[in-house]
Amino acid sequence: MTRVVVAALVALGCAASAVHARPAHKHALAQYFGSFLPKKLNDCRTCHLPDPPGKTNEDEDKPHNSFGARLKATRIALRKMARSATIEASLEAILEEDADGDGVANRVEILTGHFPGDKGDRPTAAQIASAKTTLAEFARLKSGYPWRPFDSVQRPPAPRVQNAAWVRNPIDAFLAAEHESLGLKPRPEAAPEVLLRRVYLDLIGLPPTPDEIEAFRRDCASAKPQANGGVPDAAWQRVVDRLLNDPRHGERWGRHWMDVWRYSDWAGYGAQVRDSQPHIWRWRDWIIEALNTDKGYDRMVLEMLAGDEMAPEDPKALTGTGYLVRNWKLLSREKWLQDTVEHTAQAFLGVTLQCAKCHDHMYDPILQKDYYQFRAIFEPHNVRTDRVPGQPDIKIDGLPRVYDKDLTAKTLFFIRGDDRTPDKNQTIVPDVPDALGGRFPKVEPVTLPRPAVEPEKRDFVVRESLERSAAAVANAKSELAKWEKDGQAAKAKAAALALTAKESSHDALLKVLAAETLEDAGKINSETWKQAATAALVAQRKAAVANARYNLHVTEEKSAAQKPGTPQSKAASKALEAAKTALAKAAKDAQQPATTAYQKRSSATYPPQSTGRRLALAKWIASKDNPLTARVAVNHIWLRHFGQAIVPTVFDFGKNGRPPSHPALLDWLAAEFMNPTPPHPPLRKGGQGGVAWSMKHIHRLIVTSSAYRMASTPDAANTTLDRDNKYLWRFAPRRLEAEAVRDCIFYVAGKLDPAMGGPDIDYPLGLTAPRRSLYFRHAAEKEMEFLSIFDAASVTECYERKHSIIPQQALALVNSELTLKHARILARSIAGKTNGDATAFAKSAFQYVLSRQPTAAESAECITFLAEQTQRLREAKLPGGAGLTPDGALPAPDPALRARENLVHVLLNHHEFVTIR
């Protein structure tokens, strides 16, 4: 409908009186009436008086006619009653009135193409009579389920349907109601092996193994048979629960949410980081773990937006803030914040807030000021990398996270969105757009605990410093013992000096820590502290002397080893002089009277408070009162199960988005997501509380529905009625995502490394390293080509994958070493079990690669091929490898085996291998 509106405006556009119309008003009108709005009525004159002849009214507020005046009064009244005061709501309220008093209701005048505010313009009785059908159709349109994405979610009752036997859960009821009203017949249940492959690929991104297929077959045979002859529910539920609890589920769906949340490894030129941050993979692992433990979606939102404010000492919550870290940009703080605002609004709320950066939103009730208030929430935040246990160097490893750096950072309102023209008169306070509902909590500053403010004072940092220092002492001791045992006096002397140095350093560290502990306990200037601090200084001086002495000794030895007169010798004597001076200085310092001015450990210090702005935002988003959060999330989940979303514009639930195919179903799912209906046994492992916001609950509802279990085969009658399968009369087949295609190639050959998590792997290794695809570096200009060819996520934004089918994909599967090698490995393994039996080989190969048995015709094709190809290869006398390499780098020397390798290679290129049917 939106498309029609925009184009209609473009096409229309020229009437002089329309020049100053606020497009938003006309859009609201068009939106409400849809295609029922006559062209003539999409005009300012519907609500405003015409301009006097020869003069165009330059004012924003053109005088209203009687209809416009009534509309405005209604809006004001609605607002006073704290009700939704959109133009649509007001329109609805006055449709049956007669604004211009010409005896015809506003609704009838508008639908018949007459101005409701112009007494002289009214339809004749004949016109009204002939518009009967139109009026009835419009009434039907308006009596349908209302789509009000900005109103809080109310659970609609599941409709009663005739096809009750088909209804396994309310999802089916909503779909069946549409089927019945449109005359669509749902496709029967898909064959068991098709279903099994579908749910495996969908939930874990990998196909079932032949053993798993066999186990499922047995389980189905032993379970209570289903009335429709399909897969028994009990067996199906066992598979679904097992897959939902499989850690590979988190990897599969983790990649989906990485699309929505814009995961990107760091990008830049050379070693310079320009986008995102090193070690951001920790956030990727956080996503996988959150899904596997079924962490509530509300909690995920809280941790991603405000983990540092909500749980400042919990490394897991801090890791969640990787969501924000990812937006980091070296070159532009403006773009950084812009991306943060734009994508937070789109990913969690399905709102195109970015449209309001330069002007009030053209479609949705969002003001330009709202944009900057939303931005103010993020204004103070910045990015840092904290030390992680086991690695003192944050260049090698660390935890990238956000924190509020500038607590008083001001947000400016930019006139027309231009950062060169801030409006000094506007004060911007952190807030969210009123129109989006819910209650924005009071922003309250968060006082941060010491470990968050001074991360070097965390226990593990102290412990590791002590351990390293103690280890150095132990090392020095064994060194000394060794040289003494060997009777090497000179080396023993050096080792003894080293030991003294290490011991005294260790002693100093202990004393420094003791003094610091007292300070942190607030006992600075106490007698105890004075003693401790003095002791620390004395120990530090002593350590300085010991270290200088050791250093001098080493320097002396080096100097003695040089040939006199050489440049090296000159440098050595210089170093020797410096070492002597250093020792003299240390010795002199040690003579000074002792004070409390010991040298503290170096430690970065961050603000002791956080503004609490992001926490307020996160609470507002993760609230059951928020009308959009749950709707948007379940819509994303639905999209990835069925290949088509309920609201097709998954990032835009506003008026410029496309309307939902099943608004009532979406509302029901959203309600069920937030307040699940018992009884549903919790799927969350180790989780706390109920199962509200459980993604696994929604997954299970969807994949156990009859809708999900339909065959994907076509049907001519249904196609005539609903060509695009908008009303889901069948399961729509679709191509696998890039990562799954690649993973499956390794997996069917038994070569996929099941290791989870860890640092991003260099992307050029993608064709050889057998890890799952989501663990490879994915960032601007650092993308695996193989994945890009299969429409991998754009790192800047990917709310929905594309599923293209192009010759480049064929080339990648036919010509890459990836498929060739794995075809060889799998073929040799199957050949080893089938002893030259071509029929058995073909059957097994189909099971491994396509998760099903070949039909008789397919089997015959394969057997003929094996015979002919063997013959062809034998005659061609192709140079084969000397033997079989385990990595499949070369073809088998034996023509019969090589033909089998070819067959498996063909199956890896088969349509079904890359398709969920």
Partner: protein, 485 residues
């Protein structure tokens, strides 16, 4: 992507097998039988690879300059700008042009403010050829071809930012999403002229993700098999994986692909309307041919020195775009229907001269002017210009008013030109006002260019329908009869 294809709903399992070249049991039939028009089942009434009426052109080379080329300094030169430079539009005799500002919904970008203080021309200009076409000096080589081209000077578009790059190709505003591009309509509407190259090829760096990205050469609901295929001219690997990994012999691979075709068709027995399976079968057939044809097509060293010089391949400035233009000619020679050549792609586009337009347009035109002229001359001398339609365009013009020392986006009026393929030679159609501000009647929305191109190829946009896909009047456009020979 369950998008519709050419298949009618009533298509039966039997029809499918016939249509994919197998016959009901004819597993041995050659895959090539699926070629358009051959072996197609009787009840098929949608595009059958034949034009609707006698075509004037066979192929299209579609040159697109990303970022917005100044119309007033290229093919719609406005000397009045020199006269009134530094004055506001209000302050000239042409102040009336502002009265109609915004009448097409889209005015200048509100972010950028209005640019009403006029800027003089940043390049010289003169008249060329017998037609006396006035062309800015930045385009003097194309100017030499003035008597072969038809300039359309009254274009307008509906978007004032670089998303208009998408609009130029689909006719739709970017917020509306992906729609079939002109190249994909042609790919969809016409049968192929070759067996081993895509029908629709994309050269150069396309539009950035901000502004349409791959949608500018996509096919949307027509299906990805009708989308453009990018070739990397000059790269060691023009197309990833175009060469087999070590160890796979050609005859071995050929036998594999034969089996694959048969198995895929068997897999489609229960899925007679599956556009994805169809697309995949086609993709494999095409891929097999491309393995040899793509590297051969890109062997520009096979051209004579004189030809290479004509395209500026010997010169560092013109080399890159010259290679693209020469490749475009080689592609249409080999039967590619639509070659879309991007210049200055990525981000908003290189031609986006908000500042320093003199340097920006000076340098960029130096890269493309000579190669484009070379392409026109080469096509002409080979007799290919009659059957090859060349289109030069950009997403919008640039403001007559100054933005510092640059010019802003200008969707209200701008120009493009067409040559060859049955287009009149040496004509100008339409005009903007004396300042180059508003397109004057007869104005042309950009889909009029699409309609003109389709018409020259013998296609009627209105007959390229997909059941269940509503198109809008403005999508079809109107052929610009005035420039058709």
């Amino acid at each position: 992507m369950t998008d519709s294809s050419r298949i009618t709903p009533a298509l039966s399992r039997r029809t499918f097998l016939a249509d994919t070249g197998m016959g009901f049991t004819g597993l041995a039939l050659s895959a090539l039988l699926w070629q358009d028009g051959v072996g197609r089942a009787q009840e098929h009434t949608l595009p059958d690879g034949r034009p609707h009426f006698t075509p004037k052109a066979k192929s299209v080379i579609w040159l697109f300059m990303c970022g917005g080329v100044s119309h007033v300094e290229s093919f719609d030169v406005k000397p009045e700008l020199n006269r009134y430079a530094g004055r506001t539009i209000q302050d000239t005799p042409y102040r009336d042009v502002l009265r109609a500002e915004g009448r097409d919904v889209i005015a200048g970008n509100p972010v950028h403010g209005n640019r009403h203080t006029l800027m003089g021309l940043n390049t010289g200009y003169r008249r060329y050829g017998q037609s006396g076409l006035m062309v800015g000096d930045w385009w003097r080589h194309v100017g030499e071809c003035a008597d072969d081209i038809a300039v359309v000077r009254s274009l307008w578009t509906n978007h004032n930012d670089h998303g208009a790059q998408l609009t130029w190709h689909t006719g739709r505003h970017p917020r509306e999403g992906a729609f079939p591009t002109i190249g994909s309509w042609i790919n969809y509407g016409l049968g192929t002229l070759n067996q081993n190259l895509p029908q629709y090829v994309v050269l150069g760096t396309p539009t950035g993700d901000c502004c349409g990205g791959s949608w500018t050469h996509g096919a949307a609901y027509l299906g990805a098999e009708h989308a453009g295929v990018r070739l990397n001219v000059g790269a060691a690997n023009p197309l990833p994986f175009v060469r087999p990994a070590a160890g796979l012999q050609p005859e071995e691979q050929a036998a594999e692909l034969g089996l694959l075709g048969r198995l895929n068709r068997l897999s489609g027995i229960d899925y007679p309307d599956d556009p994805q399976l169809r697309a995949r079968i086609r993709a494999y057939e095409l891929a097999a041919g491309m393995q040899a044809a793509v590297p051969e097509t890109l062997q520009l060293e096979r051209e004579t020195e004189a030809t290479r010089r004509l395209y500026g391949i010997n010169n560092g400035t013109t080399q890159n775009f010259g290679q693209l233009c020469l490749t475009a000619r080689r592609l249409v020679e080999r039967g590619v229907r639509f070659v879309q050549v991007f210049h200055g792609g990525g981000g908003g586009g290189a031609w986006d001269a908000h500042s320093g337009i003199r340097t920006n347009h000076g340098q960029l035109s130096a890269q493309v002017d000579l190669p484009i002229a070379g392409l026109l001359k080469d096509l002409k001398q080979r007799g290919l210009l009659d059957e090859t339609l060349v289109v030069w365009g950009t997403e919008f013009g640039r403001t007559p008013g100054a933005q510092g020392d640059g010019r802003d986006h200008h969707p209200q009026g701008f120009c493009a030109w067409l040559a060859g393929g049955g287009i009149k030679r040496g004509v100008v159609h339409g005009a903007t006002d004396e300042l180059g501000f508003q397109a004057l009647e007869p104005r042309h929305y950009i889909t009029d260019i699409h309609a003109t191109v389709l018409c020259q190829l013998g296609l009627d946009a209105r007959r390229l329908e997909i059941p269940g896909r509503r198109r809008l009047d403005i999508d079809y456009g109107r052929p610009i009869r005035e420039i058709m020979a």
